[in-house]
């Protein structure tokens, strides 16, 4: 499998802090990569740099073998994203929002595409509702519809199930997994929900203070950290001062 994303020497400094420090990773085509880490670890900053919404201080991001710095529009045409903390305009109806973004992404046969996605996320009956009248869980599903409109080759998800009840979260995970199987898209998923990560992700990058401290499958991370489950591994890695040593051993494996 070829690398679809290559990140080298990425650093992001804000006024009083370093958010990302010498970040290096690659993602293979068709892979589902999970970003794990405590609040402020740098997961969302990394995703936003991959989307060109935050400019790195130094380092390079290559997606589809093109530099993000110089080919932002061409790259974003083939990507999409959804975040539990980002909504679509509340003053537009559900179908209007999806129609506008279908036009922006140049989706062919957009009406059918919108109908299919609304059906997939069980939202057909809400198509004429104002987006602002939806519950937070419904709004999350709407942003997921938007994120799949252009059949992205790379889908970035920022805590996609954060505002969903367990039933809806399970359905969303299944939809994303099924889409990934059908289309072979690459998924980058940040989450604090260990079920999301263990069910969806082929590989996990564990971040702490802007650095990757563990990189491997869920099983690798459990084995190396000596934890019974990912939640326990998360807590021990987030608190551990020796997590860099752990990272080295997992990567070496």
């Amino acid at each position: 499998m070829d690398n679809i994303i290559e990140v080298r020497g990425l650093r992001k400094e804000f006024k009083n802090s370093v958010a990302i420090e010498n970040l290096n990773f690659e993602v293979k085509r068709g892979e589902i990569l999970g970003f794990l880490g405590a609040n402020g670890a740098g997961k969302t900053t990394t995703i936003f740099m991959l989307l060109g919404l935050i400019t790195p201080t130094s380092g390079s991001i290559k997606i589809f073998n093109k530099e993000m710095k110089t080919s932002r529009v061409e790259i974003l045409q083939r990507m999409n994203f959804a975040s539990a903390y980002q909504q679509l305009p509340y003053n537009l109806r559900v179908w209007e929002n999806l129609y506008v973004f279908a036009e922006i992404y140049g989706v062919k046969n957009s009406k059918k595409k919108i109908d299919d996605l609304l059906e997939m996320f069980e939202m057909e009956h809400m198509r004429k509702q104002l987006s602002g009248s939806l519950s937070s869980g419904e709004q999350t599903r709407l942003t997921l519809c938007k994120a799949l409109l252009n059949d992205p080759e790379i889908l970035c998800l920022d805590e996609p199930t954060a505002s969903l009840d367990p039933d809806q979260a399970d359905k969303v995970r299944k939809v994303i997994a099924a889409r990934q199987r059908d289309t072979g898209m690459t998924v980058i998923n940040t989450s604090h929900n260990m079920i999301d990560v263990s069910e969806l992700c082929d590989r996990i990058l564990f971040m702490r203070k802007g650095r990757v401290i563990a990189n491997g499958s869920a099983a690798d991370i459990l084995e190396q950290s000596g934890s019974k489950n990912l939640e326990e591994a998360f807590i021990s890695m987030a608190r551990s001062n020796t997590s860099e040593a752990l990272a080295t051993s997992i990567e070496a494996k």
């Binding site: 060109g52 935050i54 974003l76």
Partner: protein, 263 residues
Amino acid sequence: MNWRIIRALIIKYAFVVSRNTFRLMDLFFWPVLDLVLWGMVTIYMMKVSNGAPALVTFLIAAIILWNVLYRAQQLVSVSFLDDVWSRNLLNIFGAPIRASEYIGASFIMGLMQATLVLLLLGTLALFLHSLNIFSLGFMLAFFFVNLLFMGWSLGLLVTGAILKWGPPAEALAWAVPGLVQPLSAVFYPVSVLPGWLQPIALCFPASHVFEGMRQILAGHGVDQHHLWCAVLLNIVYMFASGWAFKVCLEGAKARGFLVKYGT
């Protein structure tokens, strides 16, 4: 520039405006109220002071043309604020949209809105005050285009300021036209201003437009000097405001402010 994207952004704006009564009111009600109110005041002033009949013409034409600049500026700034308030900023800037397409769409929407307002107010002025502003013909188009450009430039500068300073700068979207108006020779000639303010006033393209407009309405013909000054200043303003917007947008991405402001 991708016209499909510009069209999509215009459609989004049309959806927003079409179901927002206050937006429709802002678009039509206030300009009409301006025209009616100022028209009455002017007629009254003329009666009590035996003023020249040209005064009504000057003021009403000025009100109509000032609305062109105001609408163009508002559209650029407020359509950006719409995306901020509806937490749509990241969806827009995380999509394959160039800054030029985003700005281009707001320019076109500003052009459409300013055209509508000009037609509406021009027609009303004809019926209410017997002033046919359309008789200015080509010169009306020239004034319109120049005020439109200045409105776009101010809109871009305000949007840049919002990207730089965030919520405290949002009020500028409404305040800037009011700040610029006293120095733009809208209702009185530049010569009325104190001497030290006159060179500043002459740095605004609108001052030359309104001076030129009054010369024509007074029957003194077209003043080429004012026309060229307006065009050249607008070129400078467009480049300067475009550059300022670009710097502010890049700065907002570098500081992570676009993300913070958009969520």
